[in-house]
């Protein structure tokens, strides 16, 4: 049965936190499942657990190290406890666009990052894109000064807190399930996210508008447990790795399209999108870029230099 798991097949549990058909991560995970179940029928099968039904991003890595789940794709900031080098992906304006992100991740430095956590027991199998983050708030954001004094919901990460402090905005940690309500009633003023999350979680409904800042990156890494991976038969492992590489290439290549669709969906649903002039954007960069210096020791000055070198090409 190419659709599900049969007796005798090795079951690979893939747990993630998004839907299965609209979010870039969910789409990619389902494609991976379909391909493994069709091409490795009889040997292995994938069961996808979407929507945080099995584990959320905080719990899934613990469960993986415990051997209770085999694959997951948390956002890159979740790996900062394993090694701080991943902070480079959270730093504001580090990458010019998704092409630069793609090239950086495919560079030798980027590919080595997949193995940066091996001694902790995790192995990266591929970077999956979501896209660049935008700011939304309950008032128009055109200059960085517009964000000063506002309360922004952020993920609890040191880099993102520093980024908000640079804007003189107040970073607020808040459970994801409460963000919509908090934006609606004004407990917090704004948030940052990619187009697919802003549309998917309906945040645009309760914001004055979204400003296309493209100031940060939200990407994922598919990870697996080193112990489990190394215990596989070599042919099974190679076939899984090949399918993963192909799925990663295919879905990452489609990210611009998914991003554009979600952006358009926000417009179609009546959301307001504000674009920045080159001059306005430069002001945001001026205010937020000093955050880099704070984390240079964690991410490596040479890595930052490489990212800038790549930016220059795009």
């Amino acid at each position: 049965d190419p659709a599900g798991c049969d007796d005798g097949e090795m079951v690979i549990k893939f747990s993630h936190v998004t839907n299965t058909d609209k979010h870039p991560k969910g789409i990619a995970a389902n494609l991976f499942m379909e391909r493994v179940n069709a091409e490795m029928d009889g040997k292995a099968c994938v069961e996808v657990y979407p929507n945080s039904t099995l584990y959320n991003d905080d719990q899934v890595l613990e469960a993986m190290l415990q051997g209770d789940v085999q694959m997951a794709a948390p956002s890159l900031s979740k790996f900062e406890t394993f090694t701080k080098i991943y902070r480079i992906f959270d730093l504001p304006f580090m990458f010019k666009n998704m092409d630069a992100v793609e090239e950086f991740q495919n560079s030798e430095v980027g590919q080595n990052m997949k193995e940066a956590m091996v001694r902790r027991g995790l192995l990266g199998l591929g970077f999956w894109h979501n896209g660049l983050k935008q700011f939304s708030a309950n008032k128009p954001l055109l200059e960085p000064g517009d964000a000063a004094g506002l309360k922004f919901r952020v993920q609890p990460s040191d880099v993102l807190v520093a980024q908000m402090n640079a804007l003189k905005a107040s970073p607020q940690p808040m459970a994801f399930s409460e963000v919509y309500g908090a934006l609606q009633t004004g407990v917090v003023d704004g948030q940052e996210n990619t187009w697919s999350n802003i549309y998917g979680k309906k945040f645009f409904e309760v914001q004055d508008g979204t400003t296309e800042t493209n100031h940060g990156l939200l990407d994922y890494m598919v990870v697996t447990s080193v112990d489990w991976w190394e215990g596989l038969d070599a042919d099974v492992r190679d076939q899984l790795a090949t399918i993963m590489d192909e799925v990663t290439k295919e879905r990452n290549a489609a990210i611009a399209e998914v991003d554009a669709q979600n952006r358009q969906a926000v417009l179609d649903a009546g959301g307001v999108i504000r674009e920045l002039t080159a001059e306005q954007r430069a002001h945001w960069v001026d205010v937020m870029k000093p955050v880099w210096a704070q984390f240079e020791g964690d991410v490596g000055a040479d890595n930052i230099a490489l990212a800038q070198e790549i930016n220059a090409k795009h």
């Binding site: 190290l65 902790r120 107040s170 607020q172 940690p173």
Partner: protein
Amino acid sequence: MTQYQDNLPKSAFARFLDAFEENLIALLLGLMTMITFVNVVMRYMFNHSLIWGLEVTLILFAWLVLLGISYGFKKTAHLGVDALINVLPSRGQRIMAVLSALACLLYAFLLMKGSWDYWAPFAGFQPTEGRWFPLGFAEGVRDRAFYVTDQVPMLGMFRWLEDAINYGDSYDKLPRVIPYAIIPFSAALLLLRVSQALVRILRGKQALLIVSHEAEDEVERVAHGEYEE
């Protein structure tokens, strides 16, 4: 509210322990409330927030409940269904009480094994072998001592852990081994309290494992004049 069966004679030490557990429960709930309240005030008045406030509140919440479970067994305060037991003759009731205490003992035992296996790698210890029953300690399981909380600041009093379990690497956040320590601790305490309850039941000093509302209901019916003669 609910009535507790707490009519056992107490030593000074037992009274001290009761007071300690009760004050701890009060303190944990009080802290959760104050941190959340202070965060609201800071956000609204000063546009600021304790970035660790949410996470610490949730940790205290887990501590409160996990620690309290064994207290509930000590005081026979957990909720259950007594509809069937109440219609049984006293011999049947006793058998049921012993059976249910054995079920709780199995629960506590399995939870103890699971708790150790979960926590041990965070503390640089080895989890146990075996699926149902611990068959000795595993070897060569990678430790998770490096694993820190999201935002809870490192406390100076725990710096010794860096050399003890983290190969001398410094922690910039509180390692998860600290908040998670409550899990095996509570499970061990639960195992103790359930064993004590089983002994009390076997010696005829305790009738049930769950809170009984019957006596209390009777008193109230009389008080409300529902039995008029």
